[in-house]
Symmetry: C2
Subunit: 205 residues, 2 copies
């Protein structure tokens, strides 16, 4: 039987530190790739096509939607974002473990996919109060923007319990260790390891 990759779905409220945690985890453990989304928005300075996003036109996006090539997609402020089904499937079939960084709505859609097993992880701040402190501390957001982010965070955190795992970003070090542990543990589930399959098949050398 061929080894198949695992799909990890990661969500977090804005400001919870998901990107920083994920970067460290990907530096710590091997064989984990990031799934690159498609978007119709213009690249920001420094963003690379095929690395940060696949930048496509609205027409190209619409064609992909019609062909049902998105596992999930969303419209945010007039721009479209989507996760390519063939790209994800190809990576999984090659045995590549991948991480999808998507919002709560997208995660719920992927969770319902019958043909793709996924492991969902929610990254949360220890509390909304702490998130507020962090957002204010950055000094990059207006009071209105912080208020909106906190309102969104509240709604998103109410969905946290529907995820398989919860990573609390209290200290960065602990959060990295926890996310890393989830991936290592899921990889060592007995039915997923080559040894488990070998032991089970009665072929013992």
């Amino acid at each position: 039987m061929e080894t198949t990759g695992q799909l990890f779905v990661l969500s977090a409220p804005s400001g919870a530190g998901k990107t920083t945690i994920l970067k460290q985890v990907m530096a710590n453990i091997p064989r984990l790739a990031f799934s690159v989304s498609h978007t119709t928005r213009f690249p920001r300075k420094g963003e690379v096509n095929g690395v940060d996003y696949h930048f496509v036109t609205k027409e190209q996006f619409a064609t992909m939607r019609k062909k049902k090539q998105f596992l999930e997609w969303a419209e945010v402020h007039g721009n479209y974002y989507g996760t390519s089904r063939p790209a994800v499937l190809e990576q999984l079939q090659q045995g590549q473990d991948i991480v999808l960084d998507i919002d709560v709505q997208g995660a719920a859609i992927i969770n319902k996919e019958k043909n793709i097993a996924s492991i969902s992880i929610f990254v949360a701040p220890p509390s909304l109060k702490e998130l507020e402190k962090r957002l204010c501390g950055r000094g990059t957001d207006s009071t209105d923007s912080i208020k909106l982010r906190l309102e969104n965070a509240k709604n998103e955190m109410a969905q946290a319990a529907s995820y398989d795992y919860l990573v609390i970003n209290d200290t960065l070090e602990d959060a990295v260790l926890t996310l890393q542990s989830v991936i290592i543990a899921e990889r060592s589930r007995s039915h997923r390891t080559p040894e488990g399959k070998r032991f089970n098949s009665g072929y013992l050398q």
Copy 2:
């Protein structure tokens, strides 16, 4: 709702390195206790009552059995070994995570317990050939003893796939990391974390 401890059930063929791995993991991560078994065999040199085993008489053991105080028990070479149900339950109710180090038969019995959720982990050598090499390398076992251990290992490893997780002891470092990751990951399952319960209850501060 009160936090309840988690029960980790650990099995391995003799010589797989389970004890060494477990000791390092318990040194690395907090709040993990070892469940002390009851036995009717005499203490060996250096063994401490209540630490290595609860040493009891055959009469005491028989009384506990009659009162159904064992989660599982076994007779090995004329001696009895058992896991005390009230001791395990008390620790779990206090929120203490515990590790049970038991054989494949005992693990199967605990797996069937309806009132106690457990997470089962099998520690295996990379192959029987490698196990043979290690057992011969120790120089402490006779050829017959090694042959018996390998025969037992083969039977035990055929059960590995029925465990939740499989830890392959290829290098000690990786095996410690994997076992540790399983425990950290299981602790961060969303329904088990205090934050998950708090987020879910609608109480967001």
